[in-house]
């Protein structure tokens, strides 16, 4: 028992549990559905997971500070449309410039959120629900309801989604999936090895303490929203690459999917705990379930929202019972470990509440 305590934290056990659950879901569906585990299915899911996972990372950054970003879906829509429009006008725009342009657009929208939330001290739920509507309305007005179509886009954009960097027996490693992996790795490192990352946890863990701790807590919350916007912009570019046709409602509901992904992935809505890997696994879980359930024909597409909703509820319920229990056991184990090593007088100072 002592070994488990030393090696894994309750949060890590939760991630392992989620991995197991994903495998279980795949096994169950492959029994239920003929030809379930095809390369084609994997390839399709890999690109749709990529977008949700990037947004889930964005959502994780603000979730860690006890905030929300409800405007992500609109940020994706606005970026995808404007980038698509510019590519239609200037077909020879360099791909790198295009991506930077997309990230910049997202950053701009994230900056608006961040300034109002971090420095204006308005709760994020109020600000981002407003900007969710404002960014979307801007898009409706700006586009005059004229969609971007695949036919007018430069060929590289349309083909980018199909390009496989590595193919193993039909399984393709597509560009969007690779972008996602890079983002997940970067932010996993940011969250566990950068001072900035640790302070995100600190702020969510105890906002009152963060105010008096003597580090720039507001700048850090601002940065979280700035990065969330930037990742939203990147996801907007990925959205354009994946779909090609962009309507004014593009990306609607993705903010909801990203929240579902992080909650399922174990990022606490009370801030302070969660990882990029968890957010990725959460994205995989919800996307896998959605796509698989459509294929059983038992669930219609109209149930999409309900499935996400139920997953959120389930994840929260499990966390409430499961993580709470584990943390208690761990705290007690920590207490036993320290006490057995030292003389009892000193152990009193180090003791944990049971």
């Amino acid at each position: 028992m002592k070994r488990i305590y030393g090696r894994f934290s309750p949060e890590q056990i939760r991630v392992l549990f989620l991995m197991l659950l994903i495998v279980l879901v795949v096994v169950i569906f492959s029994i239920q559905i003929d030809d379930y585990l095809t390369a084609n299915f994997f390839n399709r899911i890999s690109t749709s997971v990529a977008i949700i996972a990037v947004l889930a990372i964005a959502q994780t950054l603000v979730f860690l500070t006890r905030n929300f970003d409800l405007s992500l879906g609109s940020i994706v829509g606005v970026t995808a449309y404007i980038i698509g429009q510019q590519l239609t006008r200037i077909p020879n725009m360099h791909p790198v410039v295009t991506v930077i342009f997309a990230i910049g657009l997202g950053m701009l929208m994230g900056t608006i959120n961040g300034v109002l939330i971090a420095y204006g001290r308005v709760p994020s739920i109020i600000i981002t629900i407003s900007t969710l509507a404002i960014y979307r309305s801007f898009l409706v007005e700006y586009s005059h309801a004229i969609p971007i179509t695949t036919n007018n886009l430069p060929r590289w954009v349309v083909e980018l989604n199909k390009i496989s960097l590595l193919t193993i027996g039909g399984l393709e490693l597509r560009v969007l999936f690779l972008i996602m992996i890079v983002i997940v790795v970067i932010f996993q490192l940011v969250l566990s090895y950068l001072r900035f990352g640790r302070r995100l946890y600190a702020i969510g863990s105890n906002p009152v303490a963060a105010k008096v701790a003597g580090f720039p807590d507001r700048n850090i919350v601002f940065m979280a929203f700035l990065l969330s916007g930037a990742l939203g912009g990147l996801a907007g570019f990925m959205y354009l690459v994946r779909f090609g046709n962009i309507m004014v409602l593009a990306g609607q509901g993705l903010e909801f999917a990203s929240i579902a992904a992080v909650v399922v992935g174990g990022v606490s809505n009370m801030g302070g705990s969660g990882t990029a890997i968890g957010a990725l696994l959460g994205s995989v879980m919800i996307d896998l379930l959605e796509n698989s359930l459509y294929r059983t024909m038992a669930v219609s597409e109209f149930w999409r929202g309900a499935i996400l909703g139920m997953l959120i509820l389930l994840a929260v319920a499990i966390d409430h019972v499961f993580i709470g229990r584990l943390r208690k056991i761990w705290a007690r184990a920590g207490f036993l470990m320290t006490q057995s090593e030292e003389d009892p007088e000193k152990a009193e100072v180090s003791s944990h509440v049971e």
Binding site: R198, S205, A209, G214, A331, S350, H352
Partner: protein
């Protein structure tokens, strides 16, 4: 006075004024702090101690006056500036980050450690600092679940790692057990001997006298006195604090013990408490004494049905009940005033009268189901007079009241339910001497009316003065019940600390 103390103050506040929305919090205050001294600051609630701390920490700004550090005027515009100047504070409720581990908690504010976290070096450094303090903690454990004492040790380690020259401790002992207070004082003395200037705010005067080199008294936002340790007495300090002579703190007026009200037999709750047996008679005060972690509060919560017991018998007026919810307990005539006023006891933004009527709101509804505000106010007025709640109106929200007055509102709320048994959990913690005496007077008043009181208290003088009988607990176990006459501080302490050689008191 401490020999190490030199003559130049490290920190000096002159002619400081501060008011909130026109209410004066500090008026023409002077305060200074020398390196290598423990300067205690005492005063009733509302005396302006917390305001002073906030000003020094840069959380709020002065309206007028100057702050000098090493003789140079400084402007402390936010907590980060305070930190850069070498000032740190440890609050009553430690400000730790529960999700971060111990080492991270120590180093989270450090700017000069670079933006990349070097984990193994950080763990080593944390262990080194804690080692210097002679505190053993697993630096890799999350701070979640640490005791208050351990959290404070982490905060002290953090302050030391930042090379603080001024350490402010705002009521650090209020949730510590006697043993933990001793440990803390050892740390404070070690820091003082290293030349750190320590501002110590305390409510327990015995502790203040034990630890401090100088004592300053504030009253109603004004500076009253500053005297060296040798020239002061508890009586003198109290006189300065309340502005009047205080012959007797508090004592229980003897009331006739009435009929048997409550009998508890073999009460048990898994991992919490076991074999709890006691009787409570009308008009008596049964005190639950014990250290932190003795699970006294859990017995109270079980009687009130918040966290019901797993097994055992609860007999009220001869009938046996299984109390499963607070609603049921209230119907049976049991009320419970919690220790945690802010989170569990009161609805802070709501008015005094709305808070008082809350448990019995149904009685204040007219036929349409609307609240009869006039009735609510009438009730609140009755309690305002009876308990002397100091507020301009019963319609102001309770968050604007001082701690002591909040306590009175909470007790009013439960008295309004007309209880037979009132459980008071640490009713005088964190409130000033004057209000404390009023709370004790109120307890006397209640028992005089035949109400039985279970008083959960960590304050030994209070335990001895206010009790008829004392039930001592340790780690969920009932150590004995002592008659007040036979009880002494040492005996209670010995039982609470788990000494086996004490004679068991009169059982039941």
């Amino acid at each position: 006075m401490n020999k190490r103390q030199n003559n130049n103050p490290i920190l000096e506040l002159e002619n400081v004024y501060k008011s909130y929305n026109g209410v004066k919090a500090l008026t023409d205050v002077h305060f200074d702090l020398h390196p290598g001294e423990v300067h205690a600051l005492v005063g009733e609630n509302g005396a302006g101690k917390s305001t002073l701390v906030k000003i020094i920490m840069g959380v709020i700004q002065t309206d007028a006056g100057s702050i000098n550090l090493d003789g140079e005027p400084v402007k402390i515009s936010n907590p980060q500036v305070a930190q850069d100047l070498g000032i740190a504070a440890i609050y009553q409720e430690p400000m730790v980050f529960p999700d971060l581990n111990v080492a991270e908690n120590i180093f989270i504010s450090h700017a000069q450690r670079g933006s990349i976290v070097k984990w193994s070096k950080m763990f080593r450094d944390a262990e080194e600092i804690l080692g210097k303090l002679d505190v053993k903690l697993n630096v890799r454990m999350p701070a979640r679940g640490l005791t208050v004492a351990a959290q404070q040790a982490v905060e002290i380690a953090k302050a030391i790692s930042l090379n603080v020259r001024i350490l402010i401790m705002d009521e650090p002992t209020s949730s510590l057990s006697a043993h933990e207070v001793e440990q803390l004082f050892k740390l404070i003395r070690a820091l003082r001997n290293q030349g750190v200037a320590i501002l110590f705010i305390g409510h327990r005067l015995e502790e203040v006298l034990e630890i401090s080199d100088r004592v300053s008294v504030f009253r109603d936002g004004c500076w009253i006195s500053t005297k060296p340790r040798d020239e002061i007495t508890i009586d003198g300090v109290i006189r300065d604090m309340v502005g009047r002579e205080f012959s007797e703190f508090f004592s229980k007026t003897k009331t006739e013990r009435g009929d048997l009200l409550l009998s508890v037999r073999n009460l048990y709750k898994e991992n919490t408490f076991h074999d709890i047996n006691f009787d409570v008679y009308r008009g008596e005060v049964l005190v639950f004494a014990g250290l932190i972690g003795s699970h006294r509060t859990d017995v109270g919560l079980a009687l009130f049905g918040v966290e019901p017991a797993d097994s055992g018998e609860i007999m009220l007026e001869g009938n046996s009940y299984r109390i499963k919810s607070p609603e049921q307990a209230l119907k049976l005539g049991i009320a419970y005033a919690t220790e945690d006023r802010r989170h569990l006891g009161l609805t802070m933004p709501m008015s005094i009268c709305s808070n008082i009527s809350l448990p019995l709101l149904r009685d204040y509804l007219n036929k349409l189901g609307l609240i009869k505000r006039i009735e609510e106010e009438k009730t609140a007025e009755v309690f305002r007079k009876r308990l002397d709640i100091r507020a301009s109106s019963v319609n102001i929200s309770v968050e604007n009241l001082s701690g002591g007055n909040q306590q009175k509102v909470m007790i009013s709320k439960w008295l309004n339910t007309d209880p037979k048994l009132l459980i008071l959990d640490e009713p005088t913690r964190g409130i000033d001497v004057g209000t404390k005496a009023e709370v004790h007077k109120m307890i006397n008043d209640l028992t005089g009316r035949g109400i039985a009181v279970i008083l959960i208290s960590s304050d030994l003088p209070e335990v001895l003065a206010m009790s008829d009988r004392i039930l001592v607990m340790r780690e969920g176990k009932q150590m004995g019940i002592f008659e007040q006459k036979k009880a002494e501080q040492e005996l209670i302490m010995a039982a609470a600390m788990g000494q086996n050689n004490i004679k068991q008191g009169v059982a039941l």
